[in-house]
């Protein structure tokens, strides 16, 4: 808003606006309105504003949001707020004179540039020296012409005339205080209206952005699924793969919770074995579904899957190779599932031991991978001489390292396979009712872990 400074309203006198002249600002909303006018209004026509006074302030209330022209009488910072909204229009604030409620001195139909600052620049309207200048104080009297009724529709083409300086020095003191108070009120009101307007605009644009993002997400998800299932496409869709999986996981979890609730209700109501079996089978095959999705996502973005970013923090902390540890799960279940027959107990213990062994094997494989990768990257010279020498070596190293990274997906698959097999074997060893209870126990355990994450994240921090 340099405009402020620039507008010198030459016309009137120079009562210098030093220090804040009260001025009227009438934002003619767009400078475009003024068609040809030069943009800087120097002396523009000043019509009288007088009437612009107070009422304008009030009247504007509602119209302000709609109208492009607003007239404000204020001193102080209102002007700034205003000028902000006037985009570069060259509207120079006009010193308000006295504000007299209700008159809108806009001359309709005339395109006039309104604003003229009676005196030169105002840097700051800050402290209104309202007292000082009321250049136009009087003009109001003159101007009362038409437009009283408006509520201000100072419609773009109206110009406000600034009163001319002649009247200026009229009444000061008396209404000084009142004027000031009123002006301040108006100013505050105006500011808050502007703020509200800005906020609403922000909301609108955010809403728009939100719908756009949702659409993109939708598209990305579809694309993500498409791409990953076609396997070898060399698209860098990793972003989409991760995103797509996260969304699918969220949906899977919702469905899983629903199924578990159904299962719980069935168990609590002592449903028949057949019924239970149906639900249990449903839960197990739903688990199969997530393993399938994980496999697809691992092809697209193995690091995302390994990172566990799609899990809650506490779950992630106890994660092993992208998911839960089967042996731990079984350990937990053994306690929850009594009574077990001898045979079942043996079966479960063996299962636990086998999965422990398999887990160890995979963990060691992963460690070997890490070491091997480290060795690959460290081979050749590091440090100052760097790889300045041998680009071929560097490229070779990188190629090898890339190959090793490629095996990560295999490990992830094996880990998921372990988990899947564990669930299926468990289901085989246990009776239907026991399986139902086991599934409920597993769900409850993880759901507590998730709740723990939320609590942790929400804890008060000093």
């Amino acid at each position: 808003m340099g405009s402020k400074a620039e507008r010198r309203i030459g016309t009137e006198d120079d009562k210098d606006a030093v220090g804040g002249m009260p001025s009227f600002v009438s934002p003619l909303s767009v400078s475009t309105q003024f068609g040809t006018e030069e943009n800087h209004f120097n002396s523009s026509q000043v019509s009288d504003f007088a009437a612009l006074e107070q009422s304008i302030g009030f009247g504007i209330e509602d119209s302000i949001d709609h109208s492009t022209n607003t007239v404000i009488t204020s001193n102080k910072s209102v002007e700034q707020a205003f000028n902000k909204s006037l985009d570069s229009s060259n509207i120079t604030p006009i010193s308000p004179t006295r504000v007299r409620p209700q008159k809108l001195p806009t001359e309709r139909g005339q395109r006039q540039n309104l604003v003229s600052l009676p005196s030169g620049q105002f840097e700051n309207w800050g402290e209104s020296k309202m007292a000082d200048a009321s250049p136009m104080t009087d003009t109001s009297t003159d101007v009362d012409t038409d437009e009283k009724n408006q509520r201000f529709d100072i419609v773009p083409s109206t110009g406000m005339a600034a009163s001319d300086s002649s009247d200026r020095s009229k009444d000061k003191t008396g209404d000084q205080k009142t004027l000031r108070r009123l002006a301040q009120n108006r100013e505050a009101a105006r500011k808050s209206r502007l703020r509200k307007k800005a906020y609403v605009q922000q909301l609108e644009s955010s809403r728009l952005k939100l719908t756009q993002l949702e659409q993109e997400l939708q598209r990305a998800r579809q694309q993500g699924i498409f791409i990953s299932s076609s396997g070898d496409q060399a698209h860098s869709m990793s972003g989409n793969g991760a995103l797509a999986f996260d969304i699918e996981y969220a949906r899977w979890l919702e469905e899983h919770n629903r199924q578990i609730n159904e299962l719980r209700a069935a168990v609590n109501s002592h449903a028949s074995d057949n019924e239970l079996r149906g639900i249990v089978d449903g839960v197990i095959s739903h688990y199969d579904e997530i393993f399938r999705l994980k496999g697809i996502a691992a092809k697209a973005d193995v690091f995302h899957m390994l990172s566990g970013m799609w899990k809650t923090p506490a779950e992630r902390c106890f994660m092993w190779l992208g998911g839960f540890r089967s042996s731990e799960l079984l350990k937990l279940l053994v306690n929850q599932l009594e009574p077990l027959t001898e045979q079942q107990l043996v079966g479960i213990c063996n299962l636990q031991q086998s999965s422990q062994q398999a887990e160890d094997a995979l963990s060691q494989g992963m460690e070997a991978l890490q070491q091997s990768l480290a060795e690959t990257l460290a081979s050749g010279s590091l440090g100052p001489s760097g790889s300045s020498g041998n680009v071929a070596n560097y490229m070779g190293q990188m190629a090898m390292a890339m190959g090793k990274l490629g095996t990560l997906e295999g490990f992830l698959r094996q880990a998921d396979n372990l988990r899947q097999q564990t669930l299926q074997q468990m289901h085989r060893i246990l009776t239907t009712r026991q399986s139902a209870r086991a599934l409920l126990a597993i769900h409850d355990y993880f759901s507590r872990l998730r709740a723990l994450s939320s609590l942790w994240l929400a804890r008060p921090k000093e």
């Binding site: 062994q357 398999a358 090793k404 295999g410 074997q425």
Partner: protein, 102 residues
Amino acid sequence: MDRVSRLAQQKAVVIFSKTTCCMCHAIKTLFYELGVSPAIHELDEDPRGREMERALLSLGFSPSVPAVFIGGRLVDSTNTIMSLHLNGSLVPMLKAAGAIWL
């Protein structure tokens, strides 16, 4: 191919591997844990490794290693091995092949 089959018959458990392959390392670890001492052939250290690798690929192994033969019979894939272990059939298989006692 011949060489592969021949080698595969030589011991109860034969594993074709590569020194650089970490999944092979995992499988080997598993068998050691089970008390098996498999015969391990590192294809990248064997002069005829390439040929053997091709043979394995032709059997449908992808990647070619690790390839595990128990009692002369090929076990499908790492997946299969893990699954067999979890369902408790790996150990009996090993016993039957004479790879472990007890």
